[in-house]
């Protein structure tokens, strides 16, 4: 399997930071806020690889920094330090050295993002089909008929009723909105998808169907995914490997089965025990 993403020593500090930020935060310090300068060390020294078609889980409680990782990798934020290399068959991109237009190209054409909050991923002022059209237009598809056809294909693949494709997603249920978001994220057939707490807050039966859809898509398209969640059930169902995060640091990583069967870190042991 080909490696497509290589993240090294990724750090993000909110605030101006001070020389003692790192030593004063993290799981041992039991906080992500530096007591000396008040800066928040959202993530520090996060490194991992991701391969084609692989689903990697980032798990942890709120404040662990798991969402910050994907926000930086999707260029929603700029990291304080560290590197990420996105590897295509014919090109390698040092993601944080690219200019704004190059980053926008990767974001629009090679990555997809599904947010917990559909307001972040969808424009409620336009139709569901229009949301997909936007992503296609951003990657320079300029044929109306073709855009229409691709939007229909994607929405039917994610099981959104085509009779409603010209309605705003505002009128849809939460589960349906996530399906539109997934269709939009898939519009350019990206090799890498970020999923940030996509089923949080949905009914259990709706959650189960969306998780099934995600697995089917991964199998059909060999899409690599980074799944951010606090839900061990989601980690267990979707991911092959996982990182456990606490206060901005990776405290444990490995094959998901091993982490869940035999957690090494006391914090992970508590998480797993409490989910049983």
């Amino acid at each position: 399997m080909r490696k497509i993403l290589e993240v090294r020593n990724l750090s993000k500090i909110y605030g101006k930071g001070c020389p003692r930020c790192i030593e004063s935060t993290g799981p041992e310090a039991d906080t992500n806020m530096c007591p000396h300068c008040g800066s928040v060390v959202a993530i520090h020294d996060v490194s991992f690889d991701l391969h084609e078609g692989e689903i990697l889980g980032l798990m942890g409680e709120s404040g662990s920094g798991k969402s910050t990782v994907v926000k930086n990798l999707y260029f929603d934020q700029t990291p304080t330090s560290g590197s990420a290399r996105f590897i295509e068959e014919d090109a390698k991109h040092e993601m944080f050295n690219l200019n704004a237009a190059q980053q926008r190209r990767l974001r629009n054409q090679r990555f997809g993002m599904v947010y917990q909050n559909p307001h972040l991923g969808l424009n409620f002022g336009i139709s569901s089909g229009g949301n997909i059209a936007e992503r296609l237009l951003m990657s320079d598809v300029s044929h109306y008929g073709e855009i229409r056809e691709r939007a229909k294909e994607l929405l039917s693949r994610t099981e959104v009723l085509l009779s409603r494709m010209d309605e705003s997603p505002a009128a849809f249920s939460g589960g349906m909105q996530q399906r539109v978001q997934i269709a939009k994220a898939l519009a350019t057939n990206p090799p890498l998808l970020y999923l940030d707490e996509v089923t949080t807050g949905l009914d259990l039966s709706v959650q189960a169907r969306i998780l099934d859809l995600i697995l089917e898509i991964q199998q059909e398209r060999n899409t690599a995914m980074i799944v951010v969640t606090h839900d061990l059930g989601v980690i267990r169902l979707l991911t092959g490997r996982a990182l456990v995060m606490k206060y901005g640091r990776v405290i444990e990583s490995g094959l998901t089965d091993q982490i869940l069967e035999d957690p090494q870190h006391a914090y992970t042991q508590r998480l797993v025990a409490s989910a049983l």
Partner: protein, 289 residues
């Protein structure tokens, strides 16, 4: 009591600054150049942006034509023309396009093609076409810089979904020289093709928004559209598919205004009053010959 104004009302320093902004606008076709719009003795929104360009360019050898709603006789056009006559002694004004060297307009580009000796100044209420999709000016600037106009095309997509055609009637977003998309002022779609490769310099002034931009002579101007849903101008065909003529002069190649008669029936007449007069005079001449 007599009040003396500088020629052109604005002081020379202010005129020079406007001219500098115009030069920049010509150098970067379609780019909205910020300038420090001056207070004029009329409300912003009454063409002060266009007027400041006109006053900065006009000299004693110029002949000015002012059009509003396609007509030289509308109140706004008359006011602006009188203001120039008052503040620019020695400048000629005209209602005939062929005599004019400088034309200030708002809703129309004249029907007769402009010549290389003419400059058209358009008054613009809203200079930024992206304002309908992005409220933040900082973000709009980045979008313009990167020629990121996908969200404008989404508007067109939604229009076709709802109405089976693009229904934008005025201010049709138009890409200049392959990069910047402009709001070409409240001209109808009919006039948009006249921007393309125009022999005359076309300047746009937005007084309230403090922006100047330009379509220089012989520059590409392409209305946004889809490959399979091309841009189209308004149709003036009747229900039978025949081109309606102007009921006054008989022209079948002009943009028509629709009027409702007292009995409820509709009447169609050239929007460009100068053009209508010209065609009418030619028709009479031909009849007398």
């Amino acid at each position: 009591m007599s009040v003396t104004y500088n020629f052109g009302f604005m002081d020379e320093h202010a005129k020079k600054e406007v001219r500098r902004s115009i030069l920049k606008a010509i150098s970067i076709p379609g780019y909205q150049v910020p300038y420090s719009s001056r207070e004029m003795p009329m409300g912003r929104g009454f063409g002060t942006g266009g007027l400041q360009i006109t006053l900065s360019l006009i000299g004693a050898d110029e002949t000015l034509k002012v059009i509003d709603q396609g007509s030289d006789d509308s109140v706004n056009a008359v006011n602006l023309r009188q203001f120039v006559e008052l503040t620019c002694p020695g400048v000629n004004t005209t209602t005939h396009l062929n005599e004019a060297t400088l034309i200030q307009s708002r809703h129309r580009i004249p029907e007769v093609p402009l010549t290389p000796n003419q400059t058209l100044v358009l008054q613009v209420p809203y200079p930024d076409p992206l304002v309908v999709v992005e409220p933040s000016e900082d973000k709009r600037k980045v979008m313009h810089g990167e020629a990121d106009y996908a969200r404008l095309l989404v508007k067109l997509y939604e229009d076709i979904v709802k109405f089976d055609e693009i229904t934008i009637s005025h201010r049709y977003p138009t890409r200049i020289n392959g990069h910047y998309v402009i709001d070409p002022s409240p001209i109808p779609r009919w006039d948009v093709p006249k921007l393309h490769n125009s022999p005359a310099l076309i300047l746009f002034g937005a007084g309230r928004e403090k922006k100047i931009y330009a379509v220089p002579p012989h520059t590409k101007a392409e209305p946004l559209a889809f490959d399979d849903v091309p841009f189209r101008v308004e149709s003036f065909n009747d229900a039978q598919g025949n081109r309606r003529p102007c009921e006054r002069c008989g022209a079948t190649d002009s943009f028509l205004d629709e009027y409702i008669n007292e009995d409820g029936s509709k009447r169609y007449q050239c929007s460009d009053s100068d053009y209508c007069d010209t065609v009418l005079a030619e028709t009479k001449e031909a009849a007398n010959a």
